[in-house]
Amino acid sequence: MPNLKDLKNRIASVKSTRKITKAMQMVAAAKLRRAQDAAESSRPYTERFNAVMAGLSASVGDSESAPRLLAGTGSDQTHLLVVMTAERGLCGGFNGNIAKLAKSHADKLLAEGKTVKIITVGKKGRDALRRGYSELLTDHVDLTDVKHIGYDDAKSIADDLLARFDDGQFDVATIFYSQFENVVSQIPTAQQIIPASYEAKEDEQDAGGTLYDYEPDEQAILADLLPRGVATQIFSALLENAASEQGARMSAMDNATRNAGEMIDKLTIQYNRTRQAVITNELIEIISGAEAL
């Protein structure tokens, strides 16, 4: 029979855990709103950008002089996987799901005999991929000190990627991140960013319909915009990821709070029963002692 004092301590400790998870849930909810706002306000830029790029790449993409960022290097031997995860844990399956997707992608490429390199953004992804894939990890981007993701953060990652691309270190780059669907569902996504593929959305009829004049000319604009496109896509992926992380943490902490509540109920019943048993025992001892006299 468990000791009464032990039970009491156990209940106290679960109660304080519940307080912590509850607080974390509320913090995540507040941060989620901010992250969603940030993702929301970057959307007009991204959508416009993609629409213009779709139109541009449709008119230039097939020509032989298309820039390498759009047409590719002509080979797909070396793949670079950019795995973006959170800097912190305690957010359910968020980091695990992204890492799992990246791992299966890497395994598939390795099985086809390709060379795979991995760059991780966020500590948790690096920790997860270190086991089994440590020889593939080429670099790590640390965003621990970044409180609010700005375009500059995305740009520095993009500049790094572009420098590596110009250097011939890889042929194809894919980013892995989590798309924010809603609080309970975040979808791990793989997106190829180099060579870029812009496709016109069905509802964007005007993208192909309007004939634009280009100043200076299509080639020059495309050459200017493609590197920006990489930064833009990384930026929106980072924002989606930030929102997803908070959403995942919120639902994970909500679950944890509920579980702690259930556990407290169970332990309290057990505590009450044990206490009653002790009292009954004492009564029996007193009564049987009195009868023996």
């Binding site: 306000s41 991204t46 375009y151 004049d213 604009i221 920006r228 930026f235």
Partner: protein, 145 residues
């Protein structure tokens, strides 16, 4: 002058302004251009400079550093890589931008020795930055090496 056209200025981080305007002065890569209602559809690159909006409520100025402008029948959108209202730009912002442009120019001189076109591009960005600083009364001398 009652004619207006829908105008949007967005940066990756937020939408800076949106609304009907009479005309917009866009600092295009090939030179300034003024876009008025019923302008022919154009897509142009931006150079660092001042974007001046003349709307029904008066004039307004924004500093942009790069990106592109899309003029279509639906309106004018400027997608700036970085943008801020002119009054909000401090010497600190400007110093950083200028320093970046200078670094890029110096780097270009080393890495693109055989491609003078790219060095010239970097030099032009730097010159545009200096000219912009003059225009908004910020000192381009600070940080000069």
């Amino acid at each position: 002058m009652a004619d207006t056209v829908q105008f949007d200025l967005v940066s990756p981080e937020r939408r800076l302004t949106s609304g009907p305007v009479n005309q917009v002065l866009i600092p295009g890569a090939e030179g300034d251009m003024v876009a008025m209602p019923d302008h022919a559809p154009v897509i142009t690159n931006l150079r660092p400079g001042i974007l001046r909006i003349e709307g029904p409520d008066g004039e307004d100025e924004y500093v942009v550093t790069g990106g592109f402008a899309e003029i279509s029948a639906n309106g004018i959108s400027v997608l700036a890589e970085w943008s801020l209202h002119r009054g909000d730009v401090t010497q600190e912002h400007y110093d950083k931008m200028l320093q970046d442009a200078r670094d890029a120019y110096e780097k270009a001189q080393v890495t693109f020795k055989n491609e003078p076109g790219l060095v010239d591009d970097a030099a032009k960005v730097l010159a545009d930055m200096v000219a912009m600083g003059d225009h908004i009364n910020l000192d381009p001398a600070i940080g000069k090496s």
